[in-house]
């Protein structure tokens, strides 16, 4: 990752790294960005289809955005407009999951002018991006800590779709808020129950049960309170391509939810076909790993939480997470460049439970929803 160079008002970046983070922060801070050398020396130079789709998504939810892309697509100038929101639908690229886009929407959704009601279509479950279920149980849950009135903040998976053709559909609804409030969450509590959903699309429904059996087998070593649903998707609800997967959550006594998931491999991409048992076991071990990492949010929501802390009122917020992911570290750096927020990062003396935790402390920037209208 490179650091930004500031030219006038514009933040200049190089390389294709963390494209999404930069766009999200640019939209929120109102600072224009210029990204050059996007895969400039590769066989397929320039931004990819899924990134174009992301830019289109941002174009839909903002008003007055200026986007300049050079001919090869290796250089982008993005001058954000004001967040508008509203009702729209978006065809996501199947190169990435719907989660890739949904995560960006979760980050900006609260600061729109009108409540967001987005319908995203594409691949709902893959092994790269968090699925809509994961975002629902981990990120949305994390965001709810920061707003007083979370009515209308929901994600609904109406259709599931797997690689390569997708065909899934999710509906994301998000209210608007004026300000985020400071939050101090330091105690994660103990895991008290595990829940989950397994699904099998356009394959034998017995596969879902096989996944559940194996996942439960792994987890029952730790706790007896486990219940994994099987989500029956029939007809159109099951998308265009066959596949299966499972999503597991562990809830603690303090209401913290750790989530993990795994989907079957896409054979069309040249991967080996998955065995349901492997998928079940993989998801279960990932969940155990998330519990091991600990913190008040799971690893995939770290960035969202950090953003909410930084955009909060001018008060001290505190959060405990597991070790920072690379994505989070990049996000912290970007936050400093866009908002000038420096987090105080400290290792916590974990009392023999899991990994070394990180205590994140920061003073919010006092970000106010500029787009929201008053009566």
């Amino acid at each position: 990752m490179t650091t930004a160079t500031v030219k006038g008002n514009v933040l200049c970046y190089k390389g294709s790294n963390f494209f999404r983070q930069r766009l999200v922060l640019s939209v929120l801070s109102g600072k224009p960005i210029r990204i050059s050398y996007i895969r400039a020396f590769e066989d397929e130079p320039g931004i990819k289809e899924f990134e174009v789709s992301l830019i289109q998504l941002f174009d839909k939810i903002t008003n007055g955005t200026v986007i300049e892309l050079n001919e090869t697509g290796t250089s982008l100038y993005f001058q954000p407009g004001l967040l508008h929101g509203g009702t729209f639908s978006h065809e996501c690229s199947t190169q990435r999951g719907v989660g890739y886009y949904l995560e960006a929407l979760v980050m900006v959704g609260l600061f729109c002018k009108q409540p967001l009601n987005a319908t995203l279509r594409g691949v709902t479950n893959n092994n790269i991006d968090p699925s809509a279920d994961l975002i629902k149980t981990s990120m949305i849950r994390a965001v709810k800590n920061f707003i007083l009135d979370d009515e209308g903040l929901e994600i609904k998976v109406t259709k599931r779709g797997m690689l390569p053709l997708g065909g899934g559909e999710i509906i994301f609804k998000c209210p608007v808020c004026k300000q985020l409030r400071p939050v101090q969450l330091l105690d994660s509590g103990m895991v008290k129950r595990i829940r989950g959903t397994a699904f099998a699309l356009r394959v034998s429904p017995a596969i879902a049960n096989r996944i559940v059996d194996k996942a439960k087998g792994v987890l029952l070593n730790f706790i007896p309170d486990i219940y994994v649903n099987t989500d029956e998707c029939r007809g159109r609800q099951s998308g265009k391509s066959p596949g299966f997967g499972v999503h597991l959550t562990a809830e603690t006594t303090n209401g913290v939810i750790y989530s993990a998931e795994k989907a079957s491999n896409a054979v069309s991409n040249g991967e080996d076909p998955s065995i349901p048992e492997d998928v079940g076991e993989g998801a279960a071990t990932r969940l155990l790993y998330e519990i091991y990492l600990g913190g008040v949010v799971d690893s995939s929501s770290q960035a969202v939480v950090i953003l909410c802390m930084a955009l909060g009122q001018q008060d001290v917020s505190k959060f405990v997470t597991g070790p920072l992911t690379e994505n989070t570290i990049a996000f912290l750096r970007h936050l400093k460049e866009f908002f000038g927020v420096t987090f105080k990062l400290k290792h916590e003396d974990s009392s023999g439970t899991g990994t070394q935790k990180v205590v994140l402390t920061c003073v919010g920037t006092g970000y106010i929803n500029f787009s929201k209208r008053t009566v």
Partner: protein, 1022 residues
């Protein structure tokens, strides 16, 4: 008995409190009223963001010229510091109490200064010349204050000694007081300064005023509690003098000094200097407080040497502060004290003591940090210097030495575990040991450095370092060439894909056991609790009952059952007690209000304590420069005019902007023309607006919102009503107030043209004006008509197909299809047949965009600061050039003459007439008027019944009459016959005469012919 009663009554009157409970209803009412009054006093709690050492409160002295502003400041400063300031220019900071500082600033008679100072004032001393009364400036300033959040205002009446009569004085005082109250609030404090003694006001009165100032409480204002700002009390030009000499108009580098106010000032923010513009900051640093509060001491009063004054802009106090030097003014000479060399003994003069003390304090911060120690652990020795803090922590906590070698920092938490994939099955060896190691692994040094110091690009304690086993779709180690360097590419996803340890191993599982409720967590372990419980029959600790219960049930004994029931009872009791306490112990019992206050107080405690023990530099990194610090802000590219025309009597403010506030877009506001402004405002006329920190000129587009939320353009603002307006300008938080003025120069009359509030902002707004297209039918069928002259081309028509149209008479219709000829005509259908003489309308809305005009008022760059003029209105230009407005001839209103309409007579066909009922049939006879009917009735004959004789007489008379009549008729007949005969005779005679005439004529002609022949013959003969 009677006596007793009267005594009771007497008691009741004397000691009414003792009898308050006589009536339950009345007592209830009283209680309710008391509660009402208590609730009325509540204000919505606001977050507490006070700091330990707040910046000095800004007291602005305002008033028209010659009312005694300078005298008041001089008197107050004299009172506080015992020093005489001849010319109080610029902000003057003094220490007013043991923990209170004040900054005085005089507001000159300039609208720009008034606006700027209203935005930073904590207390306004509004001086009014009682001998003259209120002046426009006072009201203007009050209105400015109202818009930008109302700080505390205290009125001061001066020139009271000019009144000779006491009665008149009292009358005037009362009148002014009530007028002042209506403007601020009933009971607002108005001070009376009775007169001058020497060159100042009465000491006693000034002391009273200072007491009022010191007990003043300041409620945080919204704009200031969301924005950082600095009231600049010193400006220094840092540009190379050589450059300036070569080119006097070169852009300057200027350092501004002042206390950080509002919220903490972050170095990354953008700033705006009202009167100059948006400028990028080059550097922000903080200096030791030039006016420090006295150290801890026991005495009640301030010592004389502690009453400091700091006013670099006026010639008072001999010290000036710079980043690394202190300037001591000694008359004409300015001597620079170099701090690095230790000379401190060269100064003489009255400020020596203070200067020496300050010189000590003014050591560079790094030196100060080195000197200071922070104790993190009670046992450890103090840690020196900020840079060493992290090392100190490490060595203290772990007892191991870590090298500052970046290679070691690269170590990853799970590195030894995650390398398993390539090492085959060897990972299984010493699994428990490895897990233990992973667990007790030395903590990675300096997490902050790893994240924020970009030299460690990939050396981070991150999770994603290992190769995922099953996902080779995205290879991890990809690199990308970026110009001349190469950087690692990571997948842009928040999901982690590795599973970490091998959870099917018993040893590894142990690591995780305690994360579950079923785990063993030390002293609170269920089994242990059970053991303890059985040993000591304690009844205190029940916290983990539910967890323990599952184990309990297996070996329940009767004794346990008894115990358990006791416990349950106890638990119930505890809960009830807590509930009772919650209900009745709360003294104020204000529920939500109290809760809010508590939560704010709790947050304030956290805010204060969180970074208390950090080193100064670290703290600034996290928090920014908190309010109260004395800042030095270096700004580059300041226009040279700023330095050339610098006048310290004009306030310089550095306002911090939030992210997004540096951007420009369309702002939609609710606006009202000020009712004292003499004119209404015209659409698209330029208006100078003060919004947020900024003052700028922009073109307002006024509109009014219809019931269906459509914004309709207005040509002028309504007179006494709010309307909407849209303008192009900088974005601010919605709900911010603003005011508009047409000019900032000293024009007579009330200058504030409009006030309002920001509603929303966007990249575009839809404001529409009505557009009526008219056409005429050129052919009419029954319900269809061909309309022409509405459009000029087929394309236009096709855009409007389906649009509804209407005739003047109200017949509605729609546009159906284009027609080939004439161009732009179309076929339309109507709900009824229209006339060829009708006019057809199409009502449409035409969007109008406001002018993209935004021009910051750069008053501080002017030599004459009050004379800034931006874009002029068309009216102004016309007035200056003596031009008349252009007008189209056909736009004039003329008297419309309309001929009375001539309707042709109504004829009803006979066939129809036959079918009509009698009532509707046209009548042949004209209905008689009542008058004639009455007359006729009166004329009616009276018949007589005749006797025989009368009958005979009548008969005789009739017979006689008959005879007479007959005679007459025969006479008449004879006469007529005679006449006829005479006529016939006449006719015959006339005929004969005619014939004779013709004969005569013929004879005469023949004769004359003959005569003529004879004459010719005779002539020829002759």
């Amino acid at each position: 008995m009677d006596k007793e009663e009267s005594r009771e009554k007497c008691n009741k009157e004397r000691n009414f409190k003792a009898f308050s409970m006589y009536s339950a209803v009345r007592a209830g009412r009283a209680a309710r009223r008391a509660l009402d009054l208590a609730t009325k006093k509540h204000h919505l709690p606001v977050p507490i963001r006070t700091v330990a050492t707040p910046p000095p409160y800004v007291i602005v002295v305002v008033g028209p010229p010659k009312v005694g502003k300078t005298t008041l400041i001089r008197s107050l400063i004299k009172h506080y510091t015992k020093q005489k300031v001849v010319k109080p220019i610029g902000p003057i900071t003094i220490i007013s109490g043991k923990n209170k500082k004040l900054t005085f600033m005089e507001c000159n008679n300039d609208l720009n200064s008034m606006i700027d100072l209203a935005k930073v004032a904590d207390l306004v001393l509004m001086i009014i010349d009682a001998s003259f009364g209120f002046e426009m400036e006072t009201f203007e300033f009050l209105n400015i204050l109202q818009v930008h959040g109302f700080p505390k205002v205290m009125g001061v009446l001066t020139h009271l000694d000019l009144f000779k009569q006491n009665k008149r004085l009292n009358k005037i005082k009362k009148r002014l007081k009530h007028r002042f109250w209506t403007e601020i609030y009933q009971g607002a404090k108005l001070f009376y300064l009775s007169g001058m003694i020497g060159d100042g006001y009465h000491r006693r009165e000034i002391m009273n005023l200072s007491r009022f100032i010191s007990v003043m409480k300041f409620r945080p204002l919204v704009w200031r509690s969301t924005h950082p700002y600095v009231l600049v009390d010193r400006v220094e030009d840092l540009t190379d003098p050589e450059l300036v000499k070569r080119n006097p108009t070169t852009a300057r580098t200027v350092s501004f000094y002042g206390y950080s106010r509002g919220i903490s000032f972050k170095p990354s923010i953008k700033i705006h200097i009202p009167g100059v513009g948006d400028l990028p900051m080059k550097d922000v640093s903080f200096l030791p407080d030039p006016c420090p509060l006295p150290e801890e001491q026991k005495k009640r009063k301030l010592l004389e040497k502690e009453t400091l004054i700091y006013a670099p802009m006026c010639d008072v106090g001999e010290t000036l502060y710079d980043k690394d030097a202190v300037y001591v003014e000694m008359g004409q000479n300015v001597r620079k004290l170099d701090l690095s060399s230790g000379e401190k003994d060269i100064l003489v003069g009255e400020g020596v003591g203070i200067v020496n003390q300050l010189v000590k304090a003014a050591a560079p911060i790094d030196e100060a940090c080195k000197a200071s120690t922070v104790k993190l652990f009670a046992a450890s020795s103090g840690i020196k210097g900020s840079a060493d803090v992290f090392e100190g922590v490490r060595s203290d906590a772990l007892g191991t030495e870590t090298e500052p070698n970046p290679r070691i920092r690269r170590k990853v938490v799970f590195s030894d575990v995650e390398s398993e994939s390539d090492s085959g099955l060897r990972w299984k060896e010493h699994m428990a040991d490895k897990a233990e190691q992973a667990f007790l692994q030395p903590r990675p040094p300096d997490l902050m450095g790893a994240v924020y110091n970009t030299n460690h690009t990939s050396a981070i304690n991150s999770l994603d370092e290992s190769e995922p086993e099953d996902d080779d779709f995205f290879s991890k180690e990809r690199h990308e060439k970026v110009g001349d360097q190469e950087i690692a590419v990571t997948e842009d996803s928040s999901k982690i894909r590795e599973t970490g340890l091998h959870w099917d191993e018993e040893d590894v599982q142990k690591l995780l056991r305690n994360k579950f409720v079923t785990g063993e967590w030390g002293s609170e372990d269920a089994e242990k609790l059970l053991m303890e419980d059985e040993e000591s029959d304690a009844d205190g600790d029940f916290e983990d009952l539910e967890i323990a219960s599952s184990e309990h049930k297996a070996e329940e004994s009767p004794r346990d059952v008894v115990q358990q029931s006791d416990r349950l009872r106890y638990e119930e009791k505890v809960l009830k007690k807590a509930e009772f306490d919650r209900m009745y112990d709360n003294k104020d019992n204000d529920g939500l209000f109290q809760e809010m206050k508590e939560s704010f107080a709790k947050q304030a405690r956290i805010n204060e304590s969180e970074f208390e023990n950090e080193a100064a530099e670290q703290r600034i990194q996290y928090e920014g420069f908190r309010p109260g610090l004395y800042l030095r802000i270096v700004v580059e590219n300041v226009p040279s005019e700023f330095c050339q025309h610098l006048d310290p009597s004009y306030p310089i403010i550095i306002g911090g902007l939030l992210s997004n506030e540096e951007n420009i877009g369309f702002v939609h506001v609710r606006i009202k023309k000020h009712r004292w402004f003499p004119r209404i405002l015209k659409n698209n006329d330029p208006l100078i607006i003060s919004l947020g920190w900024r003052r700028f000129q922009t073109a307002m587009q006024y509109s009014m919102q219809d019931h269906n939320m459509r914004n309709r353009l207005l040509k002028y603002t309504p007179k006494h009503m709010h309307c909407r307006a849209t303008f192009y300008g900088p974005l601010v938080t919605p709900n911010t107030g603003f005011l508009g003025v047409q000019t900032v120069d000293r024009t007579p009359g009330f200058r504030i043209a409009a006030t309002g509030v920001v509603l929303e902002q966007d990249a575009c707004f839809k404001v529409v004006k009505k557009l009526k297209l008219t056409g005429v039918p050129h052919k009419v069928f029954t319900n269809t008509a061909f309309i022409k002259d509405m459009f000029t081309s087929d394309l236009e028509v096709s855009k409007f197909i389906g649009a509804s149209i209407r005739t003047v008479s109200g017949i509605r219709g729609t546009i159906k299809k284009t027609l080939s000829a004439p161009l732009g005509s179309f076929r339309a259908t109507f709900e009824d047949k229209i006339k060829l003489s009708d006019i057809v309308f199409l009502r449409a809305w035409y969007p109008v965009e406001p002018l993209r005009y935004y021009n910051p008022v750069t008053s501080l760059l002017q030599a004459d600061k009050g004379s800034w003029t931006g874009m002029k209105t068309v009216g102004q230009l016309r007035f200056e050039r003596n031009l008349k407005a252009r007008c189209k001839a056909d736009s004039h209103y003329k008297l419309i003459k309309r001929e009375p309409v001539q309707f042709s007579k109504l004829t009803i066909p006979k066939s129809l007439q036959a079918e009509l009922p009698y009532k509707s049939k046209p009548k042949l006879l004209i209905k008689k008027s009542e008058k004639t009917v009455r007359k006729q009735k009166a004329k009616k004959k009276i018949f007589k019944i005749m006797s025989k004789e009368e009958k005979q007489i009548n008969v005789l008379l009739q017979q006689l009459n008959t005879i007479k009549n007959l005679k007459l008729t025969t006479k008449l007949k004879k006469k007529q016959a005679d006449q006829r005969r005479a006529k016939e005779l006449e006719k015959d005679e006339a005929k004969a005469l005619k014939r004779q005439k013709a004969w005569k004529k013929q004879i005469n002609r023949k004769r004359s012919k003959r005569e003529g022949v004879a004459r010719r013959k005779s002539a020829s003969a002759s």
